[in-house]
Symmetry: C2
């Protein structure tokens, strides 16, 4: 058993340090009471120390072998598991999430670390390219060899809705570590004790693996100033963020205004349209409604991929769907504790505002309670959705809007007007293939993941996952924040021309062990 006391300290390059700023206490949203330990906001010199330590650690960290970093990632996972029930109970207390969800998310987090370890062992992430010298060509072609290296220290902002999988040792941290980038982690104020426990697990893994302490730091405290100062720091070379659109855009502005601008990977907002195509709706309106209600209320709707928009043709089949959905939601309609009073307040305000919009009718709306969220379902017309921009705004929580379109042309028009999204879902039958074919090119331009006959919640951590999508779903639709593809966000290519073997990085030498290389443009194992 390892020591798992929560002291309220920040972790600066392996050292526990008390912040000097305003105090922050954790809140138990279910019990409605403050939790133990006082967390203090880190100050300017502490932020600076974390960033400088990360900068100093970068060359050493990125010089480790893929195998060494794989072991490090696995050790982080082991140290998280070693926290045992202390961690699970603290997460439950700080988030109101049930035990099964927290244990599941812990499994996902550890699995994610292992997946990046296997990515490192597989090795093709290095993108080794070798163009052999052609000394007899006129002019002669030099020997050219390319590999990817890390961008440098990454500022990671933890999300509130996944206190383990998108937080201190979540996907952003795992992919940055895999890329050889030190991480300065901005802890989320809503689960500071969870953050400290996991942060200490990461710091222990750094120590156990003999890495420099600067590979990881954890910044404590409330308020936006800490994060903004972090993003402005010259040592920081990229930013990973999951949170609100306003928060992400504020960081994008800070990053773009730096003397040396840096990339920001912000996963921000999505309403995840679900298209109910005519034949599927005819055949399975009630089944789809049941699945939809389950997806909408999963985790009290506090999912980036929550189905916040349903699109279909107006008519009796859609009425069957909304009727069945209302019934299903009524069956689960008790208000449930949300992650924080702030999130619950925003949700309830969003629902109230949507309800007051013209041309919006209420399908199902259970009574809300303080600090909780109860599902809400509304319906509008395609014409209203096209005319009223506010109807397309995200409400974070279990709320959704059904858009009843006049015909397929209007459905396409609504699709074409959508902002960038993480996902789009098609409920379809064989007879819907033609409509689906006209929709697909539009959806490909708008979203990161297209699903058929499922629901968007449940984001598989896998090689072929895209948890991303065009702005404003993310700040940078060229990448994913879930799955092994996430590593490319923190990499850049370096080319070596005519370097002596002794100076080449090992993976580019003639003597490198067997692995994937692109030789004169062709992929090969040798």
């Amino acid at each position: 058993m390892i020591d798992a006391t929560i002291t309220g300290e920040a972790l600066i390059a392996g050292q526990a340090v008390k912040g000097t700023g305003a105090v922050l206490r954790a809140w138990d949203p279910a019990a409605g009471k403050q939790l133990d330990a006082e967390f203090f906001a880190v100050d300017h010199s502490q932020i600076d120390a974390a960033c400088r330590a990360a900068e100093a650690a970068f060359d050493t960290f990125r010089a480790t072998s893929d195998a060494q970093r794989a072991v490090f990632l696995e050790t982080v996972g082991e140290q998280i598991l070693a926290l045992g029930d202390t961690l699970v109970e603290r997460v439950m207390a700080e988030t109101g999430l049930p035990r099964a969800r927290v244990e599941g998310e812990r499994g996902r987090t550890v699995g994610q670390l292992k997946l990046f370890a296997s990515l490192l062992r597989e090795g093709s992430w290095n993108d080794v390219r070798i163009d052999a010298a052609l000394p007899d060509r006129v002019p002669p072609r030099p020997d050219l060899r390319l590999r990817m290296i890390g961008l440098g220290p990454v500022a990671v902002f933890a999300a509130s809705n996944f206190p383990l999988a998108f937080s201190v040792a979540g996907g952003d941290t795992a992919s940055a570590f895999a890329a050889g980038c030190p991480v300065v982690l901005r802890a989320h104020f809503a689960h500071p004790g969870t953050s400290e426990l996991v942060g200490r697990a990461v710091a222990r893994a750094v120590e156990l693996c003999g890495l420099p302490g600067g590979v990881f730091s954890l910044l404590t405290g409330a308020g936006n100033a800490i994060g903004q100062e972090l993003v402005r720091h010259p040592a920081i070379k990229a930013v990973g963020f999951t949170g609100s659109r306003a928060g992400g855009m504020a960081l994008m502005a800070v990053a773009a205004a730096r003397p040396v601008p840096i990339p920001v990977y912000a996963e921000m907002s999505s309403i995840n349209p679900v298209f109910l195509l005519p034949a599927a709706l005819d055949k399975r309106a009630e089944d789809i409604a049941a699945g939809f209600a389950a997806s909408l209320t999963l985790g009290v709707g506090q999912m980036c991929t929550n189905p916040g928009l349903v699109l279909a043709l107006a008519g009796p089949d859609l009425d069957r769907f909304t009727g069945a959905a209302a019934q299903a939601l009524a069956g689960t309609a008790a208000a449930v504790t949300m992650l924080s009073p702030g999130i619950a307040g925003n949700f309830q305000r969003g629902v109230a505002q949507l309800r007051e919009q013209p041309n919006v009718a209420t399908v199902s709306l259970a009574p809300q309670e303080e600090g909780k969220g109860a599902p809400a379902l509304f319906v509008t017309t395609g014409a209203a959705f096209l005319a009223q921009h506010a109807l397309g705004e995200e409400i974070f929580g279990p709320a959704s809007l059904v858009v009843a379109c006049r015909d397929v042309a209007e459905l396409l028009q609504v699709a074409e007007q959508l902002e960038g999204q993480l996902t789009a879902t098609l409920q379809l039958d064989d007879a819907d293939l033609e409509v689906a074919r006209t929709l697909l090119p539009v959806l490909e331009r708008k979203v990161g993941r297209i699903l058929a006959n499922g629901f968007p919640t449940g984001v598989e951590v896998a090689s072929a996952m895209v948890h991303g999508g065009p702005f404003p779903a993310t700040s940078d639709g060229r990448s994913t924040s879930v799955g092994t593809g996430a590593i490319v966000r923190f990499l850049r290519p370096v080319s070596y021309q005519n370097l002596p073997q002794a100076l080449l990085p090992e993976v580019l030498r003639d003597s490198a062990p067997e692995g994937w290389r692109r030789r004169d443009g062709e992929l090969t194992r040798h």
Copy 2:
């Protein structure tokens, strides 16, 4: 023979259209006279028409097969060659570049188009990933398949210094086309006739291949307003630019301020440090000086990779180098016509300013003439370089500054203070390996390409090339603008979950022809 008359028209989605704005005439910098044809600035509605046509063409263009786009790229090359000597002579007249260089650059341009065609035929750019469904897992894993698609219409800004290879049908256009992205090309005012000729060749290829006209448009006229309006247009999804730091940063600001921000790939400025390590300098000071002088004066120094900075330890060996370099430059020191009077003026101003900086001594400086550039070589100390920021600024043309460092520690300090660069060069001998090893990690963080015992000019178009590097060498150091890696700039991933085979893009179907796939994370041909 094809018709190769220059009319001064813009090309909007395959239609030749006269701009309505201010007139622009081409200038022959060698003869010092205006050239035929009046080019008019396109207006708001013409820019809008080009962007809307590109948007309308996108889905059709990206739905073409890899093989079809390969043929299209090759057809562009054939149509450029079909312009014959008309093109070569117009380039020479508009740029003052000699015939051999122009013909060589034409070969490079056509070769580049062919290289991207071979990239498409090889197919692994699609990054196909397939994670098989695991129906028995708890919870079941869905079938997930990923491929890359184009970002959408790309605004490409032609460069002045490579009127073919970095202009209308240059690397940015070739890689955008390869990615399935239509291109709206902002022609460079310094070679408008060349641009029209090549633009017509591209438009003919579009027509011959049966593609929609919106796949390519060419915008004519002088001034920055056209480009800024282009980057602001909502249909544009990415920007490729090669030019000045001020120009690139202006476009970055416009792109970041859009309601929907878009990526900008600007290749901007670099002084390409050349490190002369002690043993190499001892053994080969004179040889290195000869190679350096040739690289510095190649193309009148109008190369992004021109060696504008030389770093070495102060002492008699460095004196031998500067002496020999001065002698070599004196041998070639006649002033040579530069690409435009503006470029020559900026070069001469830059040289005059550097000469007046404190702690800078002149090694070699031939008399300058109007519209021409003569090589200039200066020397300063490491301490001065560290203290005077202006000494690190790019002078576009055949000028370079030698920094004589006190010791290796100061050399490292200077390296650490450098801004991002396209290249760094090491002149080294076996006895220099240890110093080189301490320099390498610093250089990897600073530059896109590291060379040994060569010179940075001469950028191979190849799979393992990186013509990129951290800011301000480029706006986005995660990519390259030369070589096949350039395609990733215009791609994003899309994931398909449980889609019926009939709806999947062909490359993701079970029936797809043999090709590279990543199955459950492992690369395989099947």
